[in-house]
Every structure is written in structure tokens, then in C-alpha cells.
């Protein structure tokens, strides 16, 4: 998707995380550069969510470090992280149920513009904040519903809003945890297009997503990292990964694998 590659913006170095006996991450290392769209794939239980939680400073790993723009961010917590320029969205929708769409986005903008300590200025008359909130709403197709309460939105819109609020932080890197899960297939592409164009407009440098839908993964990613049982199985461009039988079989399961590879070998013969 992007042609300009820059310097390393996010890196994980030898990250280990266990829960008692269970090893969720067993030595994960990778570097992500500016301009990359990376998808993290893997079967359930492979450690994807744990990895995201460690990358976003929510979980402290037992071993290893995470760096964001040369600055160590291991376990610093979500608040500091968002101020540094790294934001995330959630697999299970995380919302402010009683806020309107506009108010929801305004929280992110107020936080970003450091206006949280303005005790006496009027929020509604702050055209910068309300204006920006409206812009973000438009980017995500939610502007017509700007006054609807979040709890009354359909599930897909709630998800979009959750993601939109993360975008409203103008992060340099955004981590999306299954952005299209729970969404009908016909809507998935629309969502991905929205995400990509929004990140261009806002100026997000890198996108990292955890995704299960392989069509989406292969259509949009510059790079795929496949995770299995807490370790990196493969890390490379989509063209390379899709030929890697081991990866495809592990991630998709034997049945799919058999279909794909037997059809390839059928065509070959």
C-alpha cells in the first residue's frame, strides 16, 4: 500500500510473557518501519492479543523490551502511550455508551490538544474541538449520526467509532485489534478502505492490525507476521507468505490448507 519506507518506528525485542506455566509469548522480535501496513495473523491462542497488549504498554512482559521511536515503552501504560503517539482499537468494542458520537470523538481531541485541564472554557463553543470531531466523523462516515448516543448505534458503527476515536488522537502508529470482526463480509472492504483513506488524511505512519480474514490480510498488507504458539512462524511480504505451506496450514487449518495446496498442485500438474 505504501511505497515510502522509513526508519524503524516500533520494535519488539525478545519479548516473553508467561502466565504461570503457560507461555503466551516465547521470544518475539520484530521491527516495523514507517510506512508499513503490517498484519499479524495466527490461530486462536497464538498470542496475538497478548502481543498487542505488550506492544501497547498494557502488559509488562516477563522478559524483553518494546521500543517506540527509540524510546523504551515496555509497560508504560495506555495513557502515556497515547501521548507518545501510539494508539489502539479493541477487538471487543470499548465505548462510552452515554456519549453522542461527537462527544466521543471530542474526548480524544481534547486529550490530544491538552485541553483537559480547561475547567472553565465552554466545550460546545470550542470550534476547534467540535470542528475536528466533525471532520473525523466524516472520515468514518459517522457524521450523519453525530448526535446519536453510542449505545444506540448498530454494532458495526460502534466498532467504527472505537477505531475513529483512536484515529482522532493523530497517532503515528495505530494498532487495530480485529477491526473487521463481527462485520459482514460485504462491509469489510468498505471498512478497510475507510481506515486506509483516514490514515492517509490524518498522517498515520504505520498501521498494525490483527486480522483473521485472509482476503483482507492479503489485499491490504505490505507485510505479514504469522504467530503460532507464542513464536513468530514467518515474517515477510504477502507474496512470500502465501506460498509458505507451513504458515498457511497452521493459520488456516488443515482443511483450507489442503484445498489451497492441492488446487495449486492440481494446476501445476
Amino acid at each position: 500500500m505504501r511505497e515510502e519506507r522509513g526508519r524503524t518506528i516500533l520494535s519488539a525485542r525478545d519479548v516473553h510473557k508467561h502466565y504461570g506455566e503457560f507461555c503466551a509469548l516465547g521470544g518475539v522480535s520484530f521491527q516495523i518501519s514507517e510506512g508499513e501496513f503490517v498484519s499479524i495473523i495466527g490461530p486462536n491462542g497464538a498470542g496475538k492479543t497478548t502481543l498487542i497488549n505488550v506492544l501497547t504498554g498494557l502488559l509488562k512482559p516477563n522478559q524483553g523490551k518494546v521500543f517506540f521511536k527509540d524510546r523504551e515503552i515496555t509497560g508504560i501504560g495506555p495513557e502515556k502511550l497515547s501521548k507518545l503517539g501510539l494508539a489502539r482499537s479493541f477487538q471487543l468494542v470499548n465505548i462510552f455508551p452515554n456519549f453522542s458520537v461527537l462527544e466521543f470523538l471530542m474526548v480524544a481531541i481534547v486529550s490530544r490538544l491538552n485541553k483537559g485541564k480547561n475547567f472553565f472554557s465552554s466545550l460546545l463553543r470550542d470550534s476547534k474541538v467540535t470542528g475536528e470531531a466533525l471532520e473525523v466523523a466524516q472520515l468514518f462516515g459517522l457524521d450523519e449520526k453525530k448526535d446519536v448516543l453510542t449505545k444506540n448505534l448498530p454494532q458495526g458503527d460502534k466498532k467504527m467509532l472505537d477505531v475513529a476515536s483512536a484515529f482522532a488522537l493523530h497517532p503515528e502508529v495505530i494498532l487495530l485489534d480485529e477491526p473487521t470482526s463481527g462485520v459482514s463480509t460485504s462491509d469489510k472492504n468498505r471498512i478497510m478502505e475507510t481506515l486506509v483513506s483516514a490514515s492517509k488524511k490524518i498522517g498515520i505512519k504505520s498501521i498494525i492490525q490483527v486480522e483473521h480474514d485472509m482476503d483482507i490480510v492479503f489485499s491490504y498488507s505490505d507485510r505479514i507476521i504469522a504467530l503460532h504458539q507464542g513464536k513468530i512462524l514467518a515474517d515477510g511480504a504477502p507474496k512470500t507468505i502465501e506460498k509458505d505451506e507451513e504458515v498457511v496450514c497452521t493459520v488456516l487449518g488443515q482443511k483450507e490448507c489442503f484445498k489451497i495446496f492441492s488446487s495449486i498442485s492440481d494446476r501445476k500438474s
Binding site: I95, V107, V110, S111, F119, L123
Partner: protein
Amino acid sequence: MRTWREITSRGNFRIWGLALAGLFLLGLPFWASQFVSYLMLTFFAYAITVIGFNLLFGFTGLLSFGHALFMAAGAYTAAFLTSKFSVLSMEIILVVAVIVSSILAALIGAICVRYIKIYFAMLTLAFGMLFYTFLLKFYYLTGGDEGMRVLRPSLLGFNLSEIPKMQFLTGSYYLYSFVVLAILAFLMWKIVSSPFGLCLRAIRDNPEKAEYLGVSVKRYRWYAFVISGAYAAVGGALLAPAIGQVDPGLTYWTHSGTLVFMTLLGGFENFFGPLIGGIVYIFLQDKVMSLTTYWRFIFGGILAFIVVVAPGGIAGVIGSFVKRRKN
């Protein structure tokens, strides 16, 4: 240019309603009995307190069961300054009350805001009772369970000690308190409609998400705590000269419960709810007390009713009524 039609339209209904209420309250001492005016005076003091309390409860989602501590702090400040230090200027009393409570709230809040829900309620209850024990036991300082007297303060430099007590309370002091309430209520309105207010509501609705959006959850809770403590202190300082005597009971946990009751009764989800709750509580309590000594039973029943049936309080009931009429 706003036309008359626009000004009198539904949108400005609130402002008109407030103006009318304000005029009504201002004129009350002229046509109501001295006793009713006196009750209204106590309402002003409680109104300031519960507006501050609701910043913490309704807007930030933290239930403090020890908030009466700050009201007592303000009241005792008034008592100390007037009877022990002969400082009679109400303005100085209010300022010192705010300073004292802000320091207390800053310290106590720093400990309490790290916890939520039941633990927060329990911690604040503990601090409230700690203060109670302190006021009770250190009687050489505080007068113990007999409390301390509060002498009549001077308002804006005017020494009004010559006027008979009830006339003072229902006259100049009434007006003074009303003005303080109006100013502080306006200030709170600004706070609640500010970006800070938005962040507080975000913290109430989903602290985790708020944190992910870069909002300093603990720090903002702390700010809310200190502000609400300051408001309670002003309320207490205004109440003190009206009741003439302060005693440790002001910070007993059941008094904190009263503050919560008032807020809940009126409706905690609405800015004006606590005000409605305060007025209803005070006048209802007076009425019920004159009918029976078992007013606590009736009020307990009312509280139970609210919690189970109408958690939005009076404002909530009115709100849903209005909504139904719209549809």
C-alpha cells in the same frame, strides 16, 4: 440579533425558568414566614455542598460516603475563626475554608482516588469517621461533643451585630448566601460544560477507554475530589452562622449519607437534580419531623423507593415524563 421570538423559544426555556426561580428565591423572605426563609437559607448551604458532591458522584462516578467531612471542615473553620480568633469577616472565612478543605481534600483525595466503587466509598467513610473521632476526642481544641459556637460574621465589611438574629439571617445573610450560591452554581456549570467536564464523564463511563485516549484518570479524579471538597467547605462555612453551633455530628457518616440522599432524590444525572433534591429533602424533613419522630423510617423508605424504582430521582422522572410527551 436575537428576536423576541427566539429568546422566548423553548431553547431558552431553561434560562427563563432559572430567572423565575431566582426571582422567587430572592423575594421569598418578603412573603414567607421567617421559619421558611430560615429553612431556605440552610438549603442554600446544602445546595452548594451537593452541587460539589455531584461533580464527584454524578459526573465522575465516585460515591463518597465521607463528604460531610469537608462540610464540617468549613463549618469548624467558621467556628474557629469567629469564636477563637475573632475574625469576623465572612469573606475571609470563606477563603480560609476553601484553603483548609483543599489541603485536606488534596491529601485525602490522593489516597482515595486510586480506588473505585466500594473501596472508594469505604475509604471516604473511614476518613469521615476519623475526622469525627478527632473532633470528638480533642475536646480542648474543638469542644468535643458540645462543639463550638459560631459568632455572627460581618458581610462585606458591614458589621451587622446590632440586628436581631432572625432578621439578620433571613435578611442580609439570606441575600449574601443566595449570591454565593448563584456564583458557585454558575461556576460549576462552566466546569461541567468544559473539556474537563467531558473528561470526567468519560472517566465515569469507561475509565479504561478514557485512559487509552490519553486522559489521566487518577489525576482528573483528584481534581474533581478537591473541587467538590472546596464546595462542601463553602457550604459548611455558610451553614455554620445559620445554625450557630458546630458539632462533630456534622461529619458523622450518616450526615454524608444525607448528602448522597439529597443528590439521589433530586437526580444525579442532571445538573439541577441535587438542587431539587436538596430543597425537597429539607422541606420534606421539616414537614415529616413535625408529624412524627420516626422521620428516618419514612426517609429510608423514600430512599429505598428511589433506588429500586426511580434511580434517576425527581429529575429523572420529570425527564422521562417530558420525553413521553414529546413522543
